[in-house]
Symmetry: C2
Subunit: 339 residues, 2 copies
């Protein structure tokens, strides 16, 4: 019985049963760094005595002086057998971190491992203010925290009115691919977000792009807006943009400047009919029309139209996420960006 | 010139020049998960309308309901050629995250890669409230933010009075191994910490240990205290404890219960003479004497006494971090925990 428990627990922890059947991931290097940010000056505050550990020795702390703020965390994995021709940067959506692309909430393999296995030098970052980027009390306004049930409807696991605190009474869109049994695990991935910090977030992304690009940038949800802004700022460095369920398009006045960068926009299921997402999607699609009219190269894919059904807003966590990754990989190969 | 710039930037980004000369890291699996935490209930708050993206479509947000709080993030790397007999869990110190063990601030290889290469199933976590674990406004009190110059003296890069805002005027302990040229990069790794949350942090670590252990736990600085508390709670699951510059020992009333777990305590240079660290170190050493008297197995190593000189508090970031890792690895092999 004890042996069985250990075997089961190992399998839950590390997905080892599944992993054993897969090819090893071979990396020529892996690591992390922080990029961007700045030093600011605080003055006129009294010196504090702080006990950092209960029962520990008090330390004097002078809150005056300079503070490091607004940097961004990046972790990278460089496969031994490189087949992507440029680095692939994966940017997450609002209230989340790079964990979005790691192991899926149900324990399945996420897009980070998928694209490493396809031979991409893959860079996962946490947006300025979130996760391992850190944050400071110098950001304006208060951060937002999402209630446990909020994303169920907002991320289109179920239609409006489908959430219920009692899991047995929740409903979903028919055939949803979101792993509803792992919704609680997904909600553990959430982090606070401010609503005033887009400029600092974009500034850090631009420093990141200046450091590691030319590259391919993949964005999701809130970072759709950041992807377009960074592309507009560095059209020579972002060689392709993959926008998964972006919440906004780019600046219609700047379409001419980005027309040489191919763009793929992907929407999941039920986006066209959802009261809020129908507007978001239409805004994004209208923008691509303006971009195309200016000579831009944009492919918009509504997944149900190509036979991939049931996807929520969190496409990379859905049970069929591999099918969508295949579609993206095929598009990138078609653009000559990978073998 | 353009080609030169790209080559240089690649080398800075990914340490590729050094990486090319190293053996590939082969993983049978990698991934992440969150563990622990709980749901809490908030009631009586008004519904808000929030624009998540400037220019975006407003969304209604009901702040009432349940919230996920106090979970912890874990990322794991499982080498193809496993030589550590148990998982190795690496816990970081205060105001920091698991990034502590990743690439060093000067771009050198950190202890995460070192121990993966030695064949350990390696788990890096962010303590509850920090990094990718997320945080909520339900934690008590205000978080602490470290001024830019504060760790220079507190982490023993230089002696008291050695910090200067002007980098040219800063001094260090003679022969310091801390990469002073990368001090700014180190400071980008900082995150806020609360001073009221030890119990929640320990609760999440215990859930983590219950999930993946028996194991070896490595702790640093603030997590020294957490390591002892978790060992006291799960003496059958923590099969060895490596405490690097711990800020506290364990509970003297519980030494008998943990005496079968071997412990290695490591202190860097200048700890004995530093006004604050001399007390911290003495408290830790006094505790190990009590543990030994009860039959416990503890090795205390002051690195200068074994010829490893110049180490700061951030031993794993110092230029000679590999020598200290070798010492730890040798100790673990000596305890029969690795080949």
């Amino acid at each position: 019985m004890r042996r069985l428990t250990i075997a089961l627990s190992l399998s839950l922890v590390a997905g080892s049963a599944a992993a054993q059947t897969k090819e090893a991931i071979q990396l020529r290097d892996m690591g992390s760094f922080h990029v961007g940010g700045r030093l600011i000056e605080i003055t006129g505050q009294p010196i504090k005595e702080v006990v950092f550990t209960p029962g520990g020795v008090p330390a004097k702390m002078d809150p005056n002086g300079r503070y490091q703020v607004e940097q961004m965390y990046v972790q990278y994995f460089l496969p031994q057998n490189r087949r992507g021709k440029l680095p692939l940067l994966m940017w997450h959506g609002g209230g989340l971190t790079g964990v979005t692309y790691e192991t899926k909430p149900d324990g399945g393999e996420g897009w980070l491992s998928y694209f490493i296995r396809k031979g991409w030098d893959t860079y996962i970052s946490d947006a300025m203010e979130r996760g391992r980027s850190g944050w400071t009390n110098t950001l304006k306004g208060d951060p937002v925290f999402l209630p446990f049930g909020d994303p169920w409807e907002r991320f289109r696991v179920g239609p409006p009115g489908s959430w219920n605190d009692d899991a047995a009474k929740r409903t979903t869109y028919p055939g949803t691919q979101f792993p509803t049994e792992a919704y609680g695990q997904f909600m553990k991935q959430g982090v606070p977000r401010w609503l005033t910090t887009d400029d600092q977030i974009v500034a850090a992304y631009i420093e990141f792009v200046d450091k590691v690009c030319p590259c391919v940038v993949m964005v999701h949800s809130q970072s759709g807006s950041f992807g377009y802004r960074v592309l507009e700022a560095r059209p020579d460095k972002v060689k392709a943009l993959v926008a998964v369920e972006p919440t906004l398009g780019g600046d219609r006045n700047k379409v001419a400047s980005i027309k040489s960068t191919p763009i793929l926009v992907v929407y999941g299921d039920n986006a066209k009919d959802h009261p809020r997402w129908s507007k978001i999607r239409q805004g994004g699609v209208d923008y691509t029309e303006v971009l195309k009219a200016a000579g831009g190269s944009v492919d918009v894919v509504d997944l149900p139209d190509v036979g991939i059904k049931g996807n929520s807003h969190m496409v990379m966590m859905d049970k069929n996420s591999g099918e969508v990754a295949d579609l993206i990989q095929k598009w990138l190969v078609g653009k000559g960006l990978a073998d």
